[in-house]
């Protein structure tokens, strides 16, 4: 188990290292750099050369990569080209807000998804399953900005129950995000609940038609006991990996939702930084999101292995 753990951890670190290389190379390949972003129209001739010398941009790319990567490991993400503030604190505020959004959605979505997944799996092909499964397809396929637009229209403009956009700034205290956070949380919860629920449903169906559940039924074990003692502990295992993918998605992929609701999170900041050509910030955010994604998936794999001894062989590593 320890060997697998170390092996997996090293693979994860290797992936993050490759990600950092890709990010650095991609941003390097873009036209313009931090100096053209700072100087804007004055970016030419002497002033540009001076600025590059000052920021050390005239050194070879490999040197700068090593410096950037070793700084990032120590938590030093550099300086924003846009307003000269340390990126760590700028990104830190947004990360906190994104974590709040993700945390609320997970707290609401995971229990709901597990409950609905088990319910639809046990009541397979009956009316409640068909109705809920159809709603799930709608919830997970309709683009987030469409759902968000419809929800804003109904709950904010028509019924005026909750505000349609978040007005708090990035560094506001967490309490300032209520009640504006309600609609973005609902949009995210709908999408993630549908995904997790579908996985749980099919896994419950698999387990309920397995030999050992049939055996238990034939032995006369009460239905309730079959479901809770024999079936569910196995049926819920595949949920771990889907939940991990969901967490990774919530930390990095909710750009559209954050933008629609003007929520000052990491994704919103990422788009703004790309528009502003604030490349050091783009690099930092990309690295954070990728690291979180790799970390969450690693944790899920290890958790699944801890619960399921059959996975504990080196051969069964990530497909």
């Amino acid at each position: 188990m320890l060997r697998i753990f170390i092996h997996r951890l090293l693979l994860g670190i290797a992936t993050v290292a490759i990600v950092s290389g890709i990010i650095f190379a991609a941003v390097e390949a873009l036209p313009g750099d931090a100096c053209t972003a700072i100087l804007q129209r004055d970016a030419s001739g002497e002033r540009l050369a001076n600025c590059r010398r000052e920021l050390g941009l005239d050194r070879p790319a490999v040197t700068r990569y090593v410096e950037w990567a070793s700084g990032a490991v120590r938590g030093d993400l550099g300086i924003s080209a846009h307003n000269n503030k340390p990126i760590a604190s700028l990104v830190g505020d947004r990360l906190k807000n994104t974590l709040l959004l993700a945390g609320c959605s997970l707290a609401l979505g995971i229990p709901l998804a597990l409950f609905l997944g088990v319910l639809t799996g046990l009541r397979r092909d009956r009316f409640s399953d068909l109705a809920l499964s159809t709603i799930a397809i709608f919830a997970m396929t309709i683009p987030e900005f469409v759902t968000a637009t419809v929800l804003i229209f109904v709950f904010s403009i028509w019924l005026s129950w909750v505000p349609g956009i978040v007005t708090a700034s990035a560094s506001s205290p967490l309490s300032a995000f209520f009640p504006g956070i309600v609609l973005p949380v609902i949009v995210l919860t709908m999408v993630m609940t549908a995904h997790i629920m579908r996985t749980v449903r099919s896994s419950v169906i698999d387990v309920m038609s397995s030999d050992y559940v049939q055996m238990a039924t034939l032995k006369g074990v009460p239905y309730r006991q079959i479901v809770f003692r024999h079936a569910l502990p196995n049926a819920l295992l595949p949920a771990i990996n889907v939940i991990a993918l969901t967490v990774g998605w919530l930390l990095g992929g909710v750009v559209v939702v954050e933008k629609v609701f003007n929520y000052p999170g990491l994704g919103h900041y990422m788009i703004d930084s790309i528009s502003d050509r604030d490349l050091p910030v783009v690099q930092a955010i990309a690295l954070i999101i990728a690291t979180a994604y790799v970390g969450v998936n690693l944790a899920a794999d290890l958790l699944a292995m801890a619960f399921n001894p059959r996975l504990r062989t080196l051969k069964a590593r990530s497909p």
Binding site: L11, A14, T15, V16, I18, V19, I22, I23, A26, V27, A29, L30, P31, I137, F138, T141, I142, P143, E144, F145, V146, T149, V150, I152, F153, I157, V191, M192, H195, R198, R201, S202, S203, P238, N241, V242, L245, T246, G248, W249, G252, G253, V255, V256, K259, G267, M270, I271, I274, S275, R277, V282, I285, A286, I289, A290, T291, Y293, V294, P319
Partner: protein, 297 residues
């Protein structure tokens, strides 16, 4: 054994399998609805310019944000343009770009995945780490970096989408190949001394194709999602070209006084994406592939 003898037999087997799969898909209500929606949308994208009631960029200063009436059946937008016209033409760019990019993505991702699944070894180890690294980056970051550098023309979007959305296909094709490589008929081909290319062509393609077709349908819906989301955020189709994402974004500003401009593009976009997903679901069931584990986009 002459090719002339085996080819026709293989051909009929393939066509009858195709018709069996389609019949199987149509036997479910979800497959019927899905296929109908997809075909209707593609037909609309192809032929809408011929029967659109108005010019999509014609502005009417006397009918700004006019509610639906007998001239403008679905009303007009903030510039007095006919919403019905813009809605039926609003999917053309998205469908054109994604319909070209999807087969490209499945082709290059599928080929590389099958090769890696068959070859294994050091190259496989290294490339799969690179694949993981790309998957760890959010799609919108990858797309936006390309768009701010090279613009949003079809010539940029098609290769960009095809490249990034082909990367997850590598994983799917590789996993599907690994399931097959250990089977007897591949071992037999290896023992007969066939080359890797020959094994890929004769033994693997046919068997991995099912998984790739389902994956392709899913890729298509995710590309559409990406394309329209980018338009919505202002990084995609440029005005005055009609596009659903752009129309929904525009309508948000006037929603309190005039909600109807949002209505039609919301229905159009949702029905296309749901149609593709229902089709993919029905296809997966008809081919006997379990895709309940599909990840969040």
């Amino acid at each position: 054994m002459s090719a002339g003898l085996t080819a026709p037999v293989a051909m009929t087997a393939r066509t009858s399998r195709l018709s069996a799969v389609i019949r199987e898909m149509l036997s479910r209500p979800s497959g019927c609805i899905g296929l109908f929606l997809v075909i209707a949308h593609v037909a609309l994208a192809l032929f809408s310019p011929f029967f659109a009631p108005f010019d999509f960029k014609a502005m009417n200063a006397n009918a700004i944000l006019a509610p639906p009436d007998s001239t403008h059946w679905l009303g007009t937008d903030q510039l007095g343009r006919d919403i019905l016209t813009r809605t039926i033409m609003g999917g053309r760019q998205a469908i054109l770009v994604t319909a070209i990019a999807t087969p490209l993505a499945v082709a290059w991702g599928g080929l590389l995945g099958i090769y890696l699944g068959l070859a294994g070894g050091r190259l496989d180890d290294i490339l799969m780490r690179v694949v993981d690294a790309f998957l760890a980056l959010p799609w919108i970051l990858k797309m936006l970096l390309m768009i701010v550098t090279f613009g949003t023309g079809v010539g940029v979007l098609v290769p960009t989408l095809a490249f990034f959305y082909g990367i997850p296909v590598i994983r799917i094709a590789r996993a599907a190949t690994q399931n097959i490589v250990a089977r007897d008929f591949v071992l037999a081909a290896r023992a007969r001394g066939h080359s890797r290319v020959s094994i890929m062509r004769r033994e693997l393609f046919g068997n991995v194709l099912d998984a790739l077709m389902v994956e392709g349908a899913m890729r298509w819906s995710w590309m559409l999602l990406a394309f329209t989301s980018l338009s919505f955020l202002g990084f995609g189709v440029s005005p005055p070209t009609p596009d659903w994402g752009l129309m929904i974004a525009d309508s948000r500003n006037f929603m309190a006084i005039a909600p109807w401009p949002a209505f039609a593009p919301v229905i159009a976009l949702s029905s296309l994406i749901i149609g593709i997903n229902l089709t993919a679901d029905a296809l997966a069931k008809a081919l006997g592939i379990d895709r309940a584990q599909a990840a969040v986009h």
